[in-house]
Subunit: 265 residues, 2 copies
């Protein structure tokens, strides 16, 4: 990657101070305007429902042709807000590098976070091809496997592989008695890890993708009802078929992820 200058900005003074202390960026700006006035690429990493306001501010501040992207977990609303607010020819393309953990804050930053990660770029028909090439190269150079799709397709898929699992994990924890949970093993801990994610960030994610998530919940409710019925009637064959279907589907997924180097073999 060519030499780049990374300018950080947060609306919180404490976060700016921490970013300076941890030397997380080339420079940390005190004002949004100083951070963005002379830049080629702006990456928003704030809760989704702050984007509309940021886009409006950026529209006044950035130079023409500046690429604006984000790392939010849904894309339909950001694209709509970008269309409404970024009217002076800043170029918006959505980014979703699928990496990170349930932990929050720049103290959890890692140099290798994006190595062999899957990164989805979202574009609309009027996308600027040159800007798309630049953004694709940016994420590739960080180590990502980059894929492009529409915002609607992104939100449908991410509901299924990320937002729905979060809802399920939270539901499982909330259905559990804290005294019983003390006997939990690694299985329970792993299957509920994502429920430890920050509630405010995830409230935004869920609210930005309600239709797709509700559809996913309905599919899970149907699966759980089928298993419930099989258990009630002690139907060994159906129970085995449901468990084996899940086992073999996940085995195929693990094999794919190992091939893509997203998982170690």
């Amino acid at each position: 990657m060519p030499a780049v200058s990374v300018v950080g900005y947060s609306h919180r003074a404490a976060t700016r101070a921490k970013a300076r202390r941890l030397a997380i960026a080339t420079e940390v700006a005190e004002e949004l305007s100083d951070a963005v006035c002379d830049t080629d690429l702006i990456i928003l990493a704030t809760p989704i429902f702050t984007f509309a306001k940021y886009f409006a501010d950026l529209n006044r501040l950035v130079r023409r042709g500046c690429i604006v992207t984000d790392v939010g977990s849904t894309k339909m609303l950001p694209h709509r807000w970008a269309r409404e607010q970024l009217t002076d020819e800043a170029l918006y393309i959505g980014s979703h590098p699928i990496a990170g953990s349930e932990q929050r804050g720049i103290e959890f930053a890692r140099d290798d976070l994006f190595v062999d990660a899957h990164c989805i770029l979202t574009t609309t028909q009027d996308v600027n091809r040159s800007a798309l090439g630049t953004l694709r190269r940016f994420w590739s150079d960080l180590g990502c496997y980059v894929e492009t799709m529409s915002p609607a397709e992104h939100d449908r898929i991410l509901a299924n592989v990320s937002h729905l699992p979060h809802v399920i994990a939270a539901g499982l924890v909330n259905a559990s008695d804290p005294r019983d949970m003390k006997s939990a093993g690694k299985g329970f801990l792993d299957s509920t890890r994502i429920a430890s994610g920050p509630a405010d960030i995830w409230t935004d994610v869920l609210l930005a993708n309600t239709n797709n998530i509700v559809a996913g919940i309905d599919r899970v409710l149907a699966e759980l009802s089928a298993m419930r019925q099989a258990l009630k009637s002690e139907d060994r064959q159906t129970i085995h078929a449901l468990l084996e279907e899940a086992r073999s589907k996940r085995a195929a997924l693990v094999k794919y992820k190992i091939r893509k180097k997203e998982l170690l073999s």
Copy 2:
């Protein structure tokens, strides 16, 4: 731990050969009778619904006062079968060391599997105190934190922290389109890991604990329905409250597990 002689036995010739090749035991017996006739402690590690038959066989083979235990995931049925079959004064006590992974086979054996693991012993009112002391010492010496409870209490708790999460993970995988799953990140993979467990073993586990698991499914269905309703009505406050409840409950669990050394800080 005093010098012990570990005798292995499997009904499968291939497994016996593999056990010899991996030197997993002091000795591997060709016949069940050779494995158990002169032993102080027998540990069954087979699917739950094979126990009744094994208990009947062992009853003819073992010497009086021999301790019989198992590492099965439910305990009410094993205690019932032991009461019915182990009539010649072999002493049955249930063991459930909460350790291991979704992987199966002696090639996944690990010397340190039980270090800092939680181990539940299940007993009834007529338990032989001396045998219980011996079994407790056995698991403690392997590194376990040992707790004793009734079979009914064990099955209720394990339904909630192990069997129900397995059903949920399988349901989530089965509700997912394999093409969408290719975009899954670490969150989806972790939250569904247990669904990779062997379907035959888990069919036995679920069938041996249907009432408790159905009650758990009903609680999860209620939680998912509450979240579904909140999403449909874009009720930010309720969505946030549900996510924050799960986050804080799990944070308390992680804190407890770190204190117990079951998790690294």
